[in-house]
């Protein structure tokens, strides 16, 4: 795949955060899509096949854990899933990494520049 513009899917139920992440990442030239919960996220993943997914854990309808259990990662070899949450719990972190997440980040630790750095690193390394 040789896409010139890399795409990111943000699965996040908090509208204020969706918006700000979209502003920040778009300004850095990424193609940003959003989904409000895990179920929507699965649908958009299938349709868009993005390069990266930013996945929240606590969401209504379907949460991040369920999303990870449902998704068949073999179908998306070029998609990296970064889980981020404001719940810092080593058990959940281990579980998500075990389910195939690329990395786990504490949301509140990310300033805008940190978010950019995280995405750059994930996609270009």
């Amino acid at each position: 795949m040789s896409k010139s513009i890399l795409s990111i899917l943000i699965v996040e139920d908090e509208k204020v955060l969706q918006d700000v992440y979209q502003i920040i990442l778009s300004s850095k030239g990424y193609e940003v899509h959003t989904a409000n919960n895990g179920l929507e996220g699965l649908k958009r993943l299938k349709a868009l096949r993005p390069d990266m997914v930013l996945l929240d854990i606590f969401m209504p309808v379907m949460d991040g854990k369920e999303f990870m259990r449902k998704v068949d990662l073999d179908d998306y070899p070029n998609t990296k899933i970064v889980v981020y949450s404001n719940l810092l719990d080593s058990k959940i972190e281990a579980e998500m990494l075990g389910l195939g997440a690329h990395s786990f980040v504490l949301k509140s630790s990310l300033a805008p520049q940190d978010l950019v750095a995280l995405v750059d690193q994930t996609l270009y390394n």
Binding site: E14, V16, L17, S85, L87, K107, S108, A111, Q113
Partner: protein, 810 residues
């Protein structure tokens, strides 16, 4: 005087009648006989010889014919002296004047003593006997102390009246005085003997002890009469008795000096080694009269001597039976020398090993390990290191060797690497076996409903299953070793301890029912069984214990009502306990969720403000940027507080676990200092760290210990004035590593030194207004260090600075 001598005409006529033969009774009688014959008796009280009565004549004739000193005092009042040759010696210069002279005048100087005796003879008609009577007489021109033994008997006439006194006397002056001298000398000897710094004893010629000096008696605590004869042999060590008897018999038959060592029992029951030296005693004429013995307590010396002997023997045995072998190896890896004992270790003779180097024998997996150590050793003169690796035994098996290698390349006369080898295969196998069996046991013990634990041979408990912690609600660090006593009912504890200690001492299994306190604070009866785990030679390696809840079976005989009441309370408590547990769980979940929910809006604030500051939108004026920066920082602080609260809540929950591995603490400290670079730079402070050359590996959770160090350093910086210096020191001790953080800051008063380790404690001081914090940093330090089974200590003086010392076990 003469007037007192009435002549008896009748007698006179008789005497006269006898003529020349009348003086026959004076014939012979030596010098005194002659003297009496020529003596002019007419001037004496007895008158001329012709007038003497028959009784007087007989008596005089008796004394003159005796070779023993004898005398006569004639006449109750006159006391006229008669004496024989032998008596002259006693008289000294009183002779010859005494003859025919009154005794009271001759013996004027002792008359006060003599008179009552003489009176007794004359008046009472009794005989008098005196032995060694002491009198001071003057017979050689001076007062002389003399002693006499004598008997005086009355001489009677035909009517039975006492008319004279007959005395037989022996002078005993020499005998008495020489005996006195002897006594004095003996007293002097005994006195000397009693103060001598050694034990002295004497035996007579037949071997009976006749004397012990005071030190001897004091040593044995016995009385002289108990010791005399053969009594003292009760203090001889039974093991030494046969030798003593033999030596004793030999000495007494040969009468030669002896010098031997025996043990004797001291008053306190302890046997002490004594050096006995005996010398035979002889009278001046060479007659054997026994032994004189001295005994010297040299027990301390003897013990040292015995210990030395034992050590030498042990050392010799060690060399002969050594399981160790020694090799000298050149830097090129050639074997220069192997000790013969190499055969014990690897089965090869030194000759078999001499040709090839080490390499062909090494286990392929250990070659790299071996040579990295070997090369390291070569590079460092005097260095010593210990390696464990596998080597092919002559029998084809792989043997584990433990080698202590020392670099003696620069050592005169050696110039080689010296290796000391020991075959530790068995030990390794046992360790593996032990480890795997212990792991299997632990896995099993985690799946049983009983409480279970393991203790080392000394009874110190080092592992409990989770059921134990669940039931008692304790943490591992509280339970370590003998910490379990805190969940025992104090009423029964001493009994439990006594029995448990007995088991440890005797190796007997332990079985007992006693109550244990659960999380809810109530006691339940448990049947506790502990069995020792022994190795092949019967040495106890471990103890394995289980506690089984038998509250169901263990019905105390009480009234029904009481039982019911108890049951009700128990049920209530059980419900409360459930509620508490679920409440506790809810609390943990609540804190987790609350922190999540609190973070989310703060995260949004952070992103949006960050968006503006970082220039993702239209440019701002410097004033606007400044305001937003302040808002951003305040939000950051809130996020940090949320994090801190969450971490504290997690730390307080029993589920908090460490991810421990062996980490190099030097590196962790270096990282922490790097992280805090800007903090110290901000306050223009220096941080001094004398970094140890070698890594120090400690079994720790890297993140948590770094947090501990960061917190201590950050505190040191915060509470020191700008420009000051903070020092951090790492020291490796045998059992722990010590990390010390020293500042010259505001310090902590005595009253606050304990308090600052408590949750949310912030102590007021001159800098506290300018310093932010939640008061959790030192609480974490203490909690985290203690979770590592370490300790943290503070010494501080107000205004002078603080010194925090963390010790982590190695």
């Amino acid at each position: 005087m003469t007037a007192k001598n009435p002549s008896n005409p009748a007698r006179n006529s008789t005497l006269n009648h006898s003529g020349a033969t009348e003086h026959n009774f004076l014939v012979g009688g030596g010098e005194m006989g002659a003297m009496m014959r020529s003596f002019d008796w007419s001037k004496t009280a007895v008158g001329k010889i012709d007038t003497w009565s028959d009784e007087l004549r007989t008596a005089v004739s008796i004394i003159l014919n005796s070779s023993s000193p004898m005398f006569i005092c004639w006449g109750k009042h006159e006391l006229t002296n008669f004496y024989n040759d032998a008596y002259k010696v006693i008289l000294g210069n009183k002779h010859p004047a005494a003859l025919g002279y009154p005794a009271n005048e001759t013996w004027d100087e002792i008359w006060d003593i003599s008179e009552p005796l003489i009176a007794k003879v004359f008046k009472a008609g009794e005989s008098v006997y005196m032995k060694n009577l002491r009198v001071v007489i003057n017979r050689h021109g001076f007062d002389e102390e003399t002693y006499f033994t004598f008997s005086c008997s009355p001489l009677r006439n035909s009517k039975g009246s006492v008319v004279g006194l007959f005395g037989a006397v022996i002078e005993s002056t020499d005998e008495v005085l020489s005996r006195q001298l002897l006594q004095e000398s003996e007293d002097r000897f005994l006195n000397l003997a009693d103060t001598a710094p050694m034990f002295i004893a004497m035996a007579d010629e037949s071997g009976n002890a006749v004397y012990f000096n005071k030190p001897w008696l004091k040593f044995t605590g016995k009385k002289m009469k108990e010791m005399k004869g053969l009594g003292w042999l009760s203090t001889l060590h039974p093991e030494d008795a046969p030798k003593f008897e033999k030596d004793f018999k030999h000495a007494f038959s040969e009468q030669i000096p002896i010098r031997e060592e025996y043990r004797f029992k001291r008053a306190d029951g302890e046997f002490r080694w004594m050096l006995a030296a005996g010398a035979p005693r002889f009278t001046p004429d060479g007659h054997f009269i026994g032994y004189f013995g001295t005994y010297t307590d040299f027990d301390d010396l003897k013990q040292a001597q015995l210990a030395l002997q034992q050590r030498e023997e042990r050392f010799r045995t060690l060399i002969e039976k050594s399981a160790d072998a020694v090799q000298l190896v050149s830097p090129e890896g050639d074997i220069i020398f192997s000790s013969n004992s190499i055969k014990n270790v690897l089965g090869y003779t030194p000759e078999e090993l001499a040709s090839s180097g080490v390499t062909p024998y090494l286990h392929p997996e250990d070659i790299e390990y071996f040579f990295s150590n070997f090369n390291d050793l070569i590079k460092h003169p005097e260095k010593q290191l210990t390696m464990q690796y596998r080597v092919k035994h002559k029998d084809g098996s792989w043997a584990w060797l433990e080698t202590v290698g020392v670099n003696h390349l620069n050592t005169p006369n050696i110039h080689a690497l010296v290796g000391n080898f020991r075959n530790i295969t068995k030990q390794k196998e046992a360790e593996d076996k032990m480890r795997s069996s212990e792991e299997r046991f632990r896995a099993l013990a985690e799946n049983i409903p009983n409480l279970a634990w393991m203790a080392d041979a000394t009874g110190s408990i080092y592992w409990y299953n989770n059921r134990w912690y669940e039931y008692t609600g304790t943490k591992p660090k509280q339970m370590e070793g003998w910490g379990w006593q805190s969940v025992h009912d104090p009423k029964y504890l001493s009994g439990v301890l006594k029995k448990w200690k007995y088991s440890i001492k005797s190796g007997q299994p332990f079985e007992m029912v006693f109550p244990l306190k659960g999380t809810d604070g109530t006691y339940k009866p448990f049947l506790t069984r502990v069995v020792p785990l022994k190795d092949d030679d019967g040495t106890i390696k471990q103890w394995i214990g289980s506690n089984t809840d038998i509250s169901e079976q263990f019905k105390i005989k009480q009234t029904e009502a009481r039982n019911e009441e108890l049951e009700k309370i128990t049920q209530q408590l059980a419900i409360q306990r459930k509620e508490l547990i679920s409440l506790n769980k809810t609390k943990d979940e609540f804190i987790g969720m609350a922190s999540h929910q609190l973070r989310t809006p703060a995260t949004a604030v952070k992103q949006y403000i960050g968006l503006l500051i970082d220039g993702f939108s239209d440019p701002l004026t410097p004033g606007q940027t400044q305001y937003l920066r302040t808002a951003y920082d305040s939000n950051e602080r809130e996020l940090r507080i949320i994090n801190d609260l969450l971490k504290t809540a997690q730390m307080d929950s029993t589920e908090y676990t460490l991810k421990q591995k062996l980490y190099n603490i030097v590196e962790i400290v270096t990282d922490a200092i790097k992280d805090l670079h800007s903090v110290f730079e901000f306050r223009n402070q220096d941080i001094v760290f004398s970094k140890p050359q070698k890594p120090i590996k400690v079994f720790i959770d890297e993140i948590e210990i770094k947090l501990v160090i960061v917190n201590l350093l950050e505190n040191a910086s915060k509470y020191s004035s700008p420009g000051s210096t903070v020092e951090i020191i790492i020291e490796k001790k045998t059992k722990y590593v010590k990390i010390v953080v020293v500042d010259k800051g505001v310090g902590v008063s005595k009253d606050n030194q304990q308090r600052i380790f408590e949750k949310f404690t912030r102590v007021d001081n001159e800098l506290s207004d300018t310093v932010t914090g939640t008061g959790l940093g030192l609480y974490w330090v203490k909690q985290l260090v203690e979770l590592h089974n370490g300790t943290v200590e503070l010494t501080s003086h107000l205004g002078k600075g603080s010194r925090f010392t963390v010790r982590l076990p190695l």
